[in-house]
């Protein structure tokens, strides 16, 4: 019973929170409760994700409203940071220090002694697969290593809540996969994680619980599949530039199993509206591979992005 009570308490609760910087509104009357578990904060650049992150990590004070993290106000409440680990977006370090020195020095601020801090730092670096480079200066790290050492300092003190601001930014595909796996593992181990990104499929691979934000307002929250369904109801435009667009278009029309709803021609290209974008992309890939329909030079989706989703959601 106690576990249920613990699980039901939101890890972050914001009530009518607004934040403005002079004339610019960063967050506009946001009221949200983030449940325990892994939550993705999704929004385009400039949506207010970082502002929200900074508010819930106590770096900024709300201009209006109240924010509580783990049931307590966060502003000027340093003791709450025992339970919070924050991985910021910016690529900033003490470049002259080695990864181990840096993580160790930071965890000492949590009250650990020298030996305990060293052990904790090593454990954290091992968790992010960075032990081999632990004694290298951070200035010599690659972009992916820098992201990982940032995450190491966030989890070194074994916090209950991890807040990760764009943790996959600048990483190569292998690094992304590893980090996503780590985040899922931490979630399974019982940590609560709030992770922000502007890329839908990245968030999708980490969690099914998301918070959509745009223009400083929460647009939607909840299960990602519900939001996906909304996307699927809205037809996708796909732009196909080909050597012989009419030949390609004929093929689409002759085999309409991918729910081709409409079609129009542009110079050297055909733009198709489809209700099943994933299947349609796969088909175009097969067509390009066979070469029977001439060369297909470009396949893009002008609205396969969050902006289009948001535009649809705000319509």
């Amino acid at each position: 019973m106690e576990a249920v009570a613990t699980v039901s308490r939101p890890i972050v609760s914001a009530e009518h929170v607004s934040k403005w910087y002079g004339q610019v509104i960063g967050l506009n009357d946001v009221s949200v409760s983030v449940p325990p578990g892994v939550t993705g904060l999704l929004g385009p650049n400039g949506a207010g994700k970082s502002t929200f992150m900074k508010l819930i990590t106590g770096q900024l004070r709300p201009s209006k409203g109240a924010i509580k993290v783990l049931g307590e106000p966060i502003w000027r409440n340093p003791k709450i940071y025992f339970q919070i680990g924050f991985c910021p977006e910016q690529d900033a370090f003490y470049e002259r220090m080695t990864g181990l020195e840096w993580v160790r020095a930071l965890v000492r601020l949590n009250g650990l002694g020298e030996k305990e801090a060293d052990d904790a730092a090593r454990a954290a670096l091992a968790a992010v697969d960075l032990m081999e480079a632990a004694n290298k200066k951070i200035g010599a790290y690659s972009k992916g290593m820098r992201q990982r050492v940032k995450m190491a300092q966030a989890l070194v003190h074994d916090p209950q809540l991890l807040i990760l601001d764009e943790p996959l930014s600048g990483m190569d595909p292998i690094g992304r996969r590893k980090t996503i796996r780590l985040i899922r593992d931490w979630g399974r181990a019982g940590k609560s994680i709030i992770v922000s990104s502007h890329i839908l499929h990245e968030i999708e691979s980490m969690t099914s619980n998301i918070l959509l934000i745009n223009n400083g307002r929460i647009l939607a929250e909840g299960n990602i599949h519900q939001i996906r369904e909304l996307i699927d109801k809205h037809p996708h435009s796909v732009y196909v530039r080909a050597q012989d667009p009419r030949r390609v278009a004929r093929e689409f029309l002759e085999n309409p199993e991918d729910d081709v709803r409409s079609m129009r021609f542009e110079a050297g290209a055909v733009v198709v509206e489809t209700g099943r974008p994933d299947a349609f992309y796969a088909r175009v890939t097969d067509m390009a591979a066979t070469g029977e329909f001439g060369t297909i030079d470009e396949v893009t989706s002008p609205d396969d992005n969050l902006q289009a989703v948001f535009q649809y959601l705000v319509k």
């Binding site: 940071y81 924050f86 900033a92 370090f93 020095a105 601020l109 300092q153 003190h157």
Partner: protein
């Protein structure tokens, strides 16, 4: 692994921040620049010593020989007290938090379970360590080069100790004052310079209570040497000079240091730091 759930106290937290910061501060470009600045009087002292050894009339003013201890006193006054100490106070004091904000590393310190004021105190202690570590050896070397010329090392040793203490106190007090300026003003460097080379110079030249609102007024009470004049402003200041007693000067200097450090800590606690995107 069980991690502590109570933070170390204020001072232990500050000391941990000191551990983290002192290495970064010591090997920064700023400190290299400072080392060059305090290296100049050392170079001058060595050159003067060599010239004197070669018989050149370097220590003669208006045909009169000037003793080494007097020259040492002049160098302490002109170079260290009137320039190095306040300028280092400005350079470092105004940048205690500003450097971290500019480098965007402040986030790591402010999302740890230590009070923000302790972060400032730790950085202040690191500033003291760096400046004392660089400035005091420079003074000692100048002393060793200059004083033996028509003077005695042993005889002036007490003056050396007083000068070293004076410089440490000056660094501490100016550092605290400029820590507040750094925490509260958008352009702390300019404000700091206007304070030292504008306000302090003017206030010291006027009779009355105005000079009590300067740091230099109390520091001058600790100077064991004569304070020569090199321009009209310093001549006017010497005309209106009135020194407080030593205990009074020490009391107010420590009060200023502690008071300004407290104000700086409170300012940092309450301020929001918006990092450049």
């Amino acid at each position: 692994m069980a991690t502590p759930s109570t933070a170390p106290g204020y001072l232990p937290s500050a000391l941990r921040v000191f551990d983290l910061s002192v290495g970064e501060m010591l090997w920064s470009r700023r400190t290299i620049f400072m080392a060059l600045i305090v290296g100049a009087p050392v170079l001058i002292a060595i050159v003067l010593r060599l010239l004197d050894a070669l018989g050149a009339p370097v220590f003669q003013v208006n045909g009169m020989q000037v003793a080494g201890p007097t020259v040492f006193g002049m160098m302490i006054w002109f170079f260290y007290l009137r320039f190095t100490v306040p300028v280092l106070g400005v350079f470092y004091g105004t940048s205690l938090i500003a450097d971290e904000v500019e480098d965007k590393t402040i986030t790591y310190l402010f999302t740890r379970p230590v009070p923000k004021g302790a972060v400032l105190l730790g950085k202040y202690l690191a500033y003291m360590a760096c400046t004392v570590f660089v400035v005091l050896p420079s003074v000692v070397i100048v002393y060793l080069c200059v004083v033996p010329m028509r003077g005695s090392l042993g005889g002036s040793f007490l003056d050396l100790l007083k000068d070293l203490t004076l410089l440490v106190i000056g660094l501490a007090v100016y550092g605290a004052v400029f820590a507040v300026i750094g925490a509260r003003f958008k352009r702390p460097l300019l404000v700091g310079l206007i304070f030292i080379f504008g306000w302090e110079q003017v206030a010291l030249a006027f009779p009355g209570y105005l000079k009590r609102f300067t740091v230099a007024y109390y520091l001058q009470a600790l100077v064991p040497h004569a304070m020569p004049n090199d321009n009209i402003v310093s001549m006017i200041q010497s005309f209106f000079r009135e020194n407080p007693s030593l205990p009074e000067a020490l009391f107010w200097l420590f009060a200023i240091m502690l008071g300004f450090l407290w104000i700086a800590a409170v300012s940092v606690e309450r301020k929001e730091y918006v990092l450049e995107q």
